[in-house]
Point group: C2
Chain length 545, copies 2
């Protein structure tokens, strides 16, 4: 696997050069970032770059500072404690009750007493409890400073037992054995296929979600594709010609960049399953993320294959190169009218936040359909065709559709509902989390809001009294183009907590520029697949007097 | 006024000839239909025409049959009762308690005992109680049959006093004195300016709303424009040329037809004002109607004036020829991107349901912006220009915007909210009406559903138990094109009423093809202007055991 990985890296270099044209982003991809995350190589760090509007956008840069710092630190560490711990020892210390241990390189630290002092908040440090700091420091370049390392050194309690790092043996019988290594912060909803979401407090930390914690929704094992031999097959129009495009061929089309929020239809399903059982993964609020995508516009590629917008209804069908043991590939489709509309900005994307796509996100090429449900953004794209009907894939015809609350598995007729394309208005609270304890005085409430179809979020109303009164949150993140508001808005509200209260019932609801609003409650939008869960988001917190 | 009216009619004839190209519609406009309704001239009747899909579309034809029938009937009437009544006598008999009288021509009928036998339902006959039948028979051609007239003859009680029909004198001081005569079925929310809606039971009787009962939303007195001298001024682009278009000039552009539902932003405001006082007319569920519009596409006219889609945001500003005493005209604007998009089908309309526009609906030319709030469909259009900013009119900048429930008249800042353009998903119950008494067994529930922006209604859920359980209504009316679902769907549900219930809490909620839904309750979407009232519609009815 590593061999294959390094080959990908070397081959990927020409792509990296292309990345340099990306404005306001520094990128030196010496190490591969093709896998979602390689914990042994802290190669990805993000730095804040101010943009014209003053909003922060995370850029990527090589964590060289961290590596140097690590060597520097190691010299001093030799003079300190030399007790030896195993990784198991460290893993057992992952709560305030048992103690909070972390590692950096081979050093072990007991930061139990530091958790409450962590400038980024205790919850963020707790994400690393019982394991290595590197994956998290890779996300937050602020840690690569001398005073941070000095501060950490005070908590050193020993060294890690120098274990042999045994790479997992590939089991031929396990189709998932070759899946990439993932970032430890991801909350896993399903290991095989891999489905995971970032924790809410990381999700809205950045307007652009760092690649390693971008939510991952796989339906099948992750293919391990060789970019040298990769070909994308575009079925030609009658009178046109079919194309078999290498990556280099794809790079020859004009490169188009767009910031797009992807959301799984099942985001927030866990709230729906509390009303009544549903079939599906228990996504919390994190099946949504935002990236800067770059690639060829689908309309340009289709035009080269002779396709034109037709008067009759037609669909562009996508097939992935991921497949089940019977050889059935993932597939989906979108209307031709959207595909051919340059303003819809549908991409055959080969870059995600200035990097080649990570394997979990479709390396080397995926579809990005701004404003549309994640299920249509087909990854590991192998084939594109224009058909008179929607894709016949299970995921287009027998899944990802909405139904009335009265429909159950005995009565459902999937042919009666349209496939989900544009998604409805959505918002959620990411801080504080449900069940948290907050201090009286002022509480900072944070979250995200997004709507499908390019409709911009114009307002987020927040209530701390269960919906009796409302305050407007401050919208942060990039302002959006009219009709092309493909990305979310982050928001926050500093609310005064009335005296003598011992709890808050916090609610958020967003409004888009068609003045669509979220429904008040979950039960009336309940559906047997638990999709389209966009009722007001509610968080109950306790107040320390 | 009548002189002016007849001049309009004669001049309007060339327009009428154009109408013949309208498919599946019979039209012989010998009498003018330019005024919303002339009760003395039963010139408008609607007949059902089957369309391919089997949906009914109302066409217009001259009520010649009614006129002939009336003469026939008169001969027999001479042999019957000859008691003489005044119009006042008739008007006093407008309820089951006082008796229900109606007139046809000069004949007076006491139909009190027939009300419950009326095949169209008692509520429809009661709309005519105390007045002439002609305006209603004009809407329902089914009455123009011998057996209907024979049946009516049985209820004759006398003749109308042959009064001199005094046309109201024009008072120079009253700017509204020249407003057209309206259909008596309209429920008037404001006489000056005239604002009125059809009663719900008529609203969903036809997929296409007959012109005389199409909801009317005027902001100012109705201008009385001479089609011979009418000119539409189109300000040219830099390098292009300004246009001064006569009606004949406008007819030379390709004629484009489209069925579009118009909805006032204030529709269903009366439900919002029950939560807390709002400023605005007390519209019930009837500030919405559907017509087949024809005219020149705005994009074609703008192109002739040299306008092109610009990279920067721009707006098309419309000015009406209606104005207040200071000379300030009604005005509004839409984004240039929508105006220039042929697929958005924005019209400079000169026909409504195969007729020249009625005066109340903008004669001779109005804007029709499919999928967008009624306020932008500027009537009596005088001027069109392309600007870098939205229209500076009061109605664009200081009205027709949505706010949080927390905003009141002391805190409102109109600059902070976007002007309403596309409207959110909407639906309402038109039958039975709130407070009605229905029989046990089966109840038929009817209503409409519509969404802005061309989003199709995909489902209407109906509850008869206050939202605990839901049933899917049957959608009727024309199926809509994807992305161009400009018109409503009507719907109905025949629901079984569980035994032993003495009341029903009926609710409807609609879902559009972006899976947007209506909010559960009104209070959280309350706003100081009472616009965008699209919570679930609720109707409470009593059951006769």
């Amino acid at each position: 696997m590593l061999l294959r990985l390094y080959r990908t890296v070397v081959v990927g270099l020409p792509q990296a050069i292309r990345v340099k044209s990306t404005p306001s982003r520094i990128c030196s991809p010496v190490y591969s970032t093709n896998d979602s995350f390689q914990p042994q190589h802290p190669s990805l760090t993000f730095s804040d770059n101010s943009r014209t509007q003053g909003w922060k956008v995370m850029g990527t840069l090589l964590g060289l500072g961290a590596v140097l710092a690590y060597h520097d630190h190691r010299c001093r560490a030799a003079q300190e404690s030399s007790r030896i711990y195993t990784k198991e020892d460290v893993r057992a210390h992952n709560s305030p009750e048992n103690g909070v241990w972390v590692t950096l390189g081979s050093e072990v630290f007991d930061v139990t007493k530091f958790v409450q002092l962590h400038p980024g908040g205790p919850s963020k440090l707790m994400l690393a409890a019982g394991g290595p700091l590197e994956p998290f420091w890779a996300l937050y370049a602020v840690h690569n400073q001398a005073h941070v390392r000095e501060l950490l050194a005070e908590y050193k309690i020993g060294e890690l037992n120098p274990e042999v790092d045994i790479s997992p043996t590939l089991e031929a019988s396990d189709p998932y054995a070759d899946d990439p290594v993932r970032h430890p912060a991801l909350k896993i909803n399903s290991q095989r296929p891999f489905n995971a979401e970032p924790p809410p407090e990381l999700l809205t930390e950045n307007y652009i979600t760092p690649n390693p914690i971008f939510f991952t929704r796989n339906h099948l094992p992750v293919p391990n594709l060789d970019p040298e031999t990769y070909r994308l097959h575009i079925v030609g129009a009658p009178g046109g010609q079919s194309l078999s495009l290498s990556l280099d061929d794809l790079y020859k089309f004009p490169k188009h960049e767009v910031t797009v929020t992807l959301q799984c239809a099942g985001n927030r399903r866990s709230e729906m399953s509390k009303v009544k059982e549903v079939k599906g993964l228990e996504w919390r609020t994190g099946a949504i993320s935002t990236a800067r995508w770059a690639g060829a516009r689908l309309c340009d590629v289709l035009a080269q294959a002779g396709h034109r917008l037709s008067e009759t209804e037609a669909h562009v069908c996508f097939e992935g190169l991921d497949s089940d043991p019977t050889g059935t590939a993932y597939g989906a489709s979108i209307p031709l009218a959207r595909a051919m509309d340059p303003e819809a900005e549908v991409l055959l994307a080969y870059e995600m936040n200035g990097q080649p796509l990570p394997r979990d996100h479709g390396f080397p090429v995926r579809v990005v359909v701004p404003g549309v449900v994640g299920a249509r953004h087909v990854k590991w794209l192998g084939r594109v065709s224009v058909e008179s009907e929607e894709s016949h894939s299970h995921w287009q015809r027998r899944d990802y559709k909405g139904f009335s609350p009265s429909v159950d598995w005995d009565t459902v007729d999937f042919d009666l509902a349209p496939s989900i394309q544009e998604l409805p208005i959505q918002s959620a609270i990411t801080e504080p989390h449900d069940g948290a304890t907050v201090e009286s005085g002022e509480v900072t409430i944070k979250g995200y809001a997004w709507s499908g179809g390019g409709r911009a979020v114009i307002r987020v109303d927040v209530s701390i009294d269960g919906g009796l009164t409302w305050q407007e949150a401050e919208l942060v993140g990039e302002e959006q183009c009219p009709r092309k508001a493909w990305a979310w808005r982050l928001w926050q509200l500093k609310a005064q907590v009335p005296a003598k209260l011992n709890e808050l019932n916090i609610i958020c609801k967003a409004i888009d520029d068609s003045y669509n609003v979220q429904p008040d409650t979950v039960a009336p939008i309940w559906n047997l697949r638990g999709v389209l869960s966009n009722a007001w988001h509610r968080v109950h917190v306790h107040i320390v007097p």
